[in-house]
Symmetry: C2
Subunit: 230 residues, 2 copies
Amino acid sequence: MNRAAPARPAAPDDTGATRLKLLESAGEVFSRKGFRDATIREICGLAGANIASVNYHFRDKHGLYTEVLRYADRCAVHIEASEPVAGDARRRLRQFIKAYIAAMLDVGRPSWHGRLIAREMMEPSPALDAIVAQIIRPRSRVLSDLVEELLGPAATERRVIRCKFSIIGQCLAYHSGRHIHKRLHPGFELSSKAADEIADHIADFSLAAIDALRAGHKPARRAARGRPGS
Amino acid sequence: MNRAAPARPAAPDDTGATRLKLLESAGEVFSRKGFRDATIREICGLAGANIASVNYHFRDKHGLYTEVLRYADRCAVHIEASEPVAGDARRRLRQFIKAYIAAMLDVGRPSWHGRLIAREMMEPSPALDAIVAQIIRPRSRVLSDLVEELLGPAATERRVIRCKFSIIGQCLAYHSGRHIHKRLHPGFELSSKAADEIADHIADFSLAAIDALRAGHKPARRAARGRPGS
DNA sequence: GATTCTTTCAAACAGACGTTTTATACTCGT
DNA sequence: ACGAGTATAAAACGTCTGTTTGAAAGAATC
């Protein structure tokens, strides 16, 4: 009865050519087709590895999926650590949105990390709790702090959460709704150049809304009758 | 060689107890698990029908899925026709968002229509084109007209599209991100009462942003340096 | 009441999938 | 050189799934 990986059962190292190629290929296929639709045969074919290598290196399909998520997390940390966090809150929020949109639209290299996380958000697997704790919650905290600072005295816990979801929702729309976008507006491609313009729009849109909420302040409800600005 | 339904191959009527129960059960299961993960055996079990009834009434699994979408469309039209469209643009947009959020969060009766459309948006099946033409595009047109009217002289085609996606994205976030929301903020349930408050927030947030874009007008880009309001 | 059409049922089929087995190279330490 | 440990290969196994079969029950028509 052979169990798990041969000698080191839970070693999260990326050494080993086959193991690494399996992680990359699995990330690509999982992010495109989801856990169920992705087949081990296709992953191994893409990696140029044998079918049995998944059992050898990752015990089974779930083990492979879990390791892919941890692998993506490790890569994401490296990318994130090199990002600047300078400037005032407005500029930092804009930068946050730009980074998020870039990850969603996969500009630059063909990285599947953003797509995989987005998929996990929509259809959670048993590994979602770990993802929330390790990846999503820290990033959510950063955004919460930004929104809270921008809302100023108008910041309540509920309102910060709602604004945070409004911002993330706008970003996610360009990923989860990309097929609709393509069919609805064929002229407006989601290219790398468009990503920057989209991020600027979301930043403008959100900053204006937060400014208005801060200015309105008093009326927590029913603040939409008169012009919020002048 | 038996092909398709026995006598009337493409009759979209809902007569027939077994056929109707299959459509309802399939809609429930498809919306919860997706096309691939949903099994015919589970659908038939839920409907109290035999396995072979799918082949008899809908030819195969894809035929069943297509008919479920058409069935949902037929139901949606009935619901939508009874909605009021009175009031000024601001009030109509708020009403639009309320209806959208209600459909997303499935308040009221346990309808799977919203979930199914949302799933189809994320992972399109070959039937998506028909859905876009019959369901999504008309509704998108309504929202476009609303946003264009609200933007006034600041309305460009690109900006209308971006604002539209910002609004829809905020609504979709509470569906596609509901698992994250539950884990990130356990205290904030997505109940029926919260749906109204969420819709009001999205309306306030979006109306304020659109007002600011209209007021800013001139700077199509880079309008975030100074306060957009005063 | 016999015939025809429609609908349901239990059973099986063929294929795809995850997983396992067995055997074969390869890499060291000694 | 040799054996222990590591890694890959080909093939098969058992299971699950969509689909089909062939028969039987029910409804309708003459």
